[in-house]
Amino acid sequence: MNRIEGRVKVTGLATYAAEYPVEGLVHAFPVQSQIAKGRIRQVDAAQALAMPGVLAVLSSEDPPELAAAASGELALFQSREVAYRGQLVAAVVADTLDNARAAAAAVRVGYDPDDHDVSLRADHPGLYKPDTVNPGLPTDTEKGDVEAGLAAAATVVEVTYATPVLHNNPMEPHAAIACWDDEGRLLVYDTAQGTTWSRDILARVLGLPADRVRVVSRHVGGGFGSKGTPRPQAVLAALAARAVGRPVKAVLTRQQMFDVTGYRTPTIQRLRLGADAEGRLTALEHVAYEQSSTLEEFAEQTATPTRIMYATPALRTAHRLVRLDVATPSWMRAPGEAPGMYALESAMDELAYAAGMDPIELRVVNEPDTEPHSGLPYSSRDLVGCLREGARRFEWERRDPAPGVRRDGEWLVGTGVAASTYPARRRPSRARAVRREDGDYLVQVAAADIGTGARTALTTIAAGALGVDPDQVHVELGDSDLPAAPVAGGSMGTASWGSAVVRACEELKSDGREGVADTTEEIEGDAQFARHAFGAQFAEVRVSSVTGEVRVSRLLGVFAAGHIIDPQLARSQFIGGMTMGMGMALMEETLTDEEFGGFLRRDLAQYHVPACADVRDVEAVWLDERDVELNPMGSKGIGEIGIVGTAAAIGNAVFHATGHRLRELPITPAKILMSRF
């Protein structure tokens, strides 16, 4: 089935958050901090207020009222303390965008700056052990004796990998339109990956009961995690609208998105691996160093995939965090897994070379029977199947493992493999299904379609559960007035909403008219299993011996992700994730400005994401898995696993091509040239 909203999307009629036609709308434009740490002395808005069209200036001079519960990145203009460069310190409201923006440039902010510290280092004195890492996982785990395992190993690999600050950069900038009605109810059109959560948080920040706030996000132009929670523009629009008594639109610029909508923390990751003569791991240790802001603790679960991947008698994982004068990191597609598996799977490749083994066979001999750190059985796990299928398609058996020996003119050619994994979870959701008067079916759930094809997938799921033609099913989503649902994130959307939709449809079938479902209890009753999707990524790269340019001539992902609900949507999701993984491997990097704080390269001409010309032969396939321990559909999430392992496969291929192991992403011509010459 083609995407249900396909027609409105290709005709330009799909309405995204900034695009609702609202009568009397005015515009808010933020003023950002120009210091990384210190206090705001004063905000002088006189000149701005005198400019054409200006209606109001909001700032900490006269803090707009927010609930006491408001904190962190959303507590706009409440404090004079500056936590990072780029933080919103004021905003102008004016009749047009051009007037608001011009006036924002005229707001004078005086500061008392303090010395800032914006650099992540593995020896930073401020490193500490957070209580948990996202999403509530243990910070450290330890099983067996790593030192003894390393001492007994025939081969040892000790390596440090680093990944830079990465930005989600959905194509649609974060935007909100806020409208207050006469009764003090708030309607926000927001760029939200989940309207229920967004509504709850906005209500809490604004000190309103949740039923007085409504969030609508019918179409979302990508989020990749950055729209998982409300961002400052939603609070800004609400405050500005309250201040001027008119609906307000606040759209962040691309540059502002880099500053205030979250990013993937940079990481430094130390790995130690030991293996016996047969390649079986004797010890595995993975320690991740990451950053968060002084405003909020965000502890990414970088080393957690190492807990579930390979059999080993000694396994230690740890996370250390340092709070810097930077913006708060946030979720970005496969938070934790993407950087963590980059490091682990690169180190596994190093181990394979050190041990003289084929990298696929190394992974196969270390296949665990149960989840290594917990001992839980897997609900299903077919990493080996993925590796074997990929090897067949990639003609792996014809590969000469010797690095740096294949040439095509100036181009060095190499191939690499890496495993991928992502948890298969679901969260409680509600849904409602009714038989309409015309005989068709209406399915309601406050899900979000951020490009995953949720409308389409839920239609398929509902039609299956009802035993009717998909044409007869109409799914409504993207509105917090619909039955409460979790965010589109953590690859949990379809599994969570779908479970509720199936239950609602089942009830409708027996009731005849209506079915409502809440899966809270069902999920609480889920049996104890280790639930994960797995995959294998294969890359072929060409590296210019003249310029150091790397081109990916082929990428193949093979995934075992439960039952695939919609092959067309799934293929697009996998390939989309792999494409982002290619960006992570070769070009994506935001620089931290040590001198002034904040970020550099804050636009799409400097922060490169893959362009059409970079994406040549990219294919994704899957093995059919039947797993009854997941959810009524038997599905695992597919939104994130595609990015996991891609960077490692490409990095491993670059090593195979050139003989140089580059342990810092991205792998740029500069790094290749400097390692070669």
Binding site: D98, T547, G548, A613
Partner: protein, 323 residues
Amino acid sequence: MKTFDYARADSAAEAVRDHAPGTMYLGGGTNLVDLMRLGVAEPDRLVDVSRLPLDRIEQAGDRVRIGATVRNSDLAADPGIRARYPMLARAVLTGASGQVRNVATVAGNLLQRTRCAYFQDVTRPCNKRRPGSGCPAIAGDHTNLAIMGASEACVATHPSDMAVALTALGAEVHVTGTGGDRVIPMPGLHRLPGDEPERDTVLEPGELIVAVELPPPPPGAMVYRKVRERASFAFALVSIAAALDVGADGTVAGCRIALGGLAHVPWRAERAEQALLGGPATGEAFLRAAEAELEQASPLPRNAYKVPLTRNLIVSTLEGLAS
């Protein structure tokens, strides 16, 4: 963006007459509007020259005259340019995107400003934007900036691809101003930063580019090659425009090399050219020539890679042309 007046000129003379302090010419606007939105450019008045009748490519004797408002895409699609000046067509085609090239003018392309991140951010210091405020790029991010001809005041690079090919071809820029008409040879339009990095070119205020003239193409084969980590829609890390004429005796009879991404100007590699003329067209000679050129390099920590990159690029490009 600051408010400004807008006027459209119907002739070059009118445009020049319309120019006053605070006035800027508007070509396709793909760089100027970008910089105005960033607050980097703050003209009081725009004189739109994009519809001037200067949009023709004409053969004038053995020279080719390219009007200043010829769109980049029309230049690259012109059969004569493609056949006789392929390095120019290729250079233009590697720049920006189809959408930008459809609008960008020849004059605007030559006068586009550096992509240095600090220059583009009005909240940070930058000598080029605010003379005397400092150059944070030297201690900060200069990954894509200059290794040749830079000064302590500025290490910016000129980002144009087209200008690199025009420099190799020895094009002439025809300008008109209140002081009359003049012809500026390339290299020569752009200037090194010295202690006046705010000045990108030798143009006087109000001078309008009306055309670019190409001399007959140099004999021998010619190419343009651009290096970038993203396969398309990215500025050059380094680029090269080169032409090589190898005589029947196997020695270099003629040679042109210009380099992009290295300096505040499209860099004509005169030392390398000199080193090659009359000598053998061999890989060894190419390497010596590249090294002679790069003796002038003074790289910074983050852009030191440009030295081996440029060396390799010169050698491999000349080898390709020689064979």
